[in-house]
Symmetry: C2
Subunit: 328 residues, 2 copies
């Protein structure tokens, strides 16, 4: 057998064994993998649940993402959705569709990335179950569960005029990483090529890491809820687009100040995939870890204002789609 | 616009609106679709969770399965895994990858099938969230959640010598349906063709329905747990293979009697996808809805005996794979 076998070379049982040797045990896991279903503690009598899928092509490219990166990112984007409700993540379920040619070492690295993201971002959370299937397109569908620890969920609809608009985590850095990938690491035909560390300038590595292995501030989600957040969501599709969703759900207008958005307000306003936490708090009650970026005002014609004016740029982007439309 | 638009013709928001108009509201849904995550009641302080994916090609063919069938089956196979733990299903999350050419009417029918399967098999359970993505291969990844209502989970590992082996639901009928599809509804090149009702003989419609819209006895899962089941699982890959898994987990041997398996013991032993419930009960404690098919005995050389002999046939099958290897 090849020293790095493909998934087609091994039995399903052997692949599962290799995955489960790497995914660890969570503190809320009452019954882990191996039965028809897992059992996860839900001590506060409810469970927060969300699912998000990464598909080869639109969501990641294998020239740019390692198995570890893919495992990490598929965990992180789901953990952020749990945290954005004010909940503590407790468990992940991972449904994999793998082409037969996929190296088992890639799958093992994915398992390690899933575990590392849990350990780093949401200690106590772990993979409790999943599904392994053969498919032509590498697909990772993750479901994340969480516990509200007795608190009410923080929805998108509670922002009230007078509240401060705040963010925890990065804005625009993942989008800058993606710009780097598309401008610097494609061949003449537009196809992705491997990242060459020698081609990275100051700050580039941070931007690539934000895109490939995002590290949203998961622990600040429950902390925001404890601190009185009136509304919260994660910024997955860009600040302007996601702020519009919060504004519409809350029937208010969010006025964002560009001078609070750092060196590149355009990327901060329009770039997605950082999975920062966008939250609103009563005036004067901004908790540590969050920085003010604006105010909630009475609902006007525009759901989102930037420096008091209706925003004229793109309303959030899907960089893979936008870039592909231009250059493959 | 075309009177039956594709998903590429409509915005994500409009497709979601059409799906959510059809998925209904569950009795355990505390916060439904529309926020970063859903919130589902878990009154007994834990949540049962499982995930299973259907992929176009290996798991279904569009010539044979309607959108309604696909929605129904993707719900049913996951509900069965929850029921097999002795839990009551409370919620589904559905991650869809849809090719751009998929008709929106197909997606709407899927949503109706998901809801109908919940209403018919697990009243009170409903879709609470999901994810909508574009992908080249139509893929439905469902996660099901359930509540144990204060009971301990019924695992695969509790079968004890002297227990009766029992089944609730069909065995072999879904496999017969698949045989019909592969023998009767393919063209000369082996490609699937639409099912012609005029070509169905007595019993064929039931067999096709068992394959395309399986109706496992979900309510009997919690009832078995209440009735003292010592071990339980759903039969997804064939009785012999799944009984072997239970025997290995329980460190016992299961002896199955073919005269309890109906008119076609081979299909009952080896055919998968009925999602019947396989359970063991203390002798003399068989509850209504279950029928005895054998005995648990001390662990011997073989994990599964059929009429006292080691089983010599196939140890469970994957009919799509087996058939494809022969004829495309």
């Amino acid at each position: 057998m090849h020293s790095d076998p493909t998934v087609a070379d091994l039995s399903e049982g052997e692949i599962l064994r290799r995955i489960l040797a790497r995914t660890g045990q969570g503190s809320a896991t009452l019954l882990g993998p191996g039965d028809d279903a897992a059992v996860v503690a839900a001590p506060s009598g409810s469970v927060v649940a969300t699912t998000d899928t990464l598909i080869h092509g639109p969501d990641f490219r294998l020239a740019w993402s390692s198995g570890y990166d893919l495992g990490w990112k598929s965990a992180a984007v789901n953990l952020a959705d749990v945290a954005a409700m004010g909940a503590r993540p407790t468990a992940l379920l991972v449904a994999l569709a793998l082409p037969g040619r996929t190296r088992v070492s890639f799958v093992e690295a994915m398992a390690e990335g899933l575990r590392a993201a849990c350990d780093a971002l949401a200690p106590g959370c772990a993979v409790v179950g999943g599904d392994l299937a053969t498919g032509d397109v590498l697909t990772v569908a993750v479901t994340a569960l969480g516990d509200l620890e007795g608190r009410a969920p923080v929805t998108r609809s509670g922002a009230r005029p007078g509240d401060v608009v705040a963010v925890a985590g990065e804005l625009g850095r993942a989008a800058r990483g993606l710009e780097l990938l598309f401008t610097r690491f494609r061949d003449a035909d537009g196809a992705p090529v491997a990242i060459r560390p020698d081609d990275l300038h100051a700050g580039d590595a941070d931007a690539l890491a934000a895109q490939l292995r995002p590290a949203p501030p998961i622990g600040l989600g429950p902390f925001a809820a404890l601190s009185g957040a009136t509304a919260m969501m994660d910024v997955s599709d860009g600040l302007v687009l996601d702020a519009r969703r919060m504004a519409d759900a809350s029937r208010a207008t969010l006025d964002i100040a560009t001078d609070a958005l750092g060196a590149d307000p355009r990327l901060a306003l329009e770039g997605g995939e950082d999975h920062a936490l966008l939250a609103t708090f009563p005036s004067g009650a901004l908790p540590p870890g969050f920085r003010a970026i604006g105010r909630v005002v009475e609902r006007g014609d525009a759901p989102v204002l930037v420096d008091g004016e209706a925003h004229r740029g793109a309303g959030g982007w899907d960089p893979y789609r936008d870039w592909d439309a231009a250059a493959g």
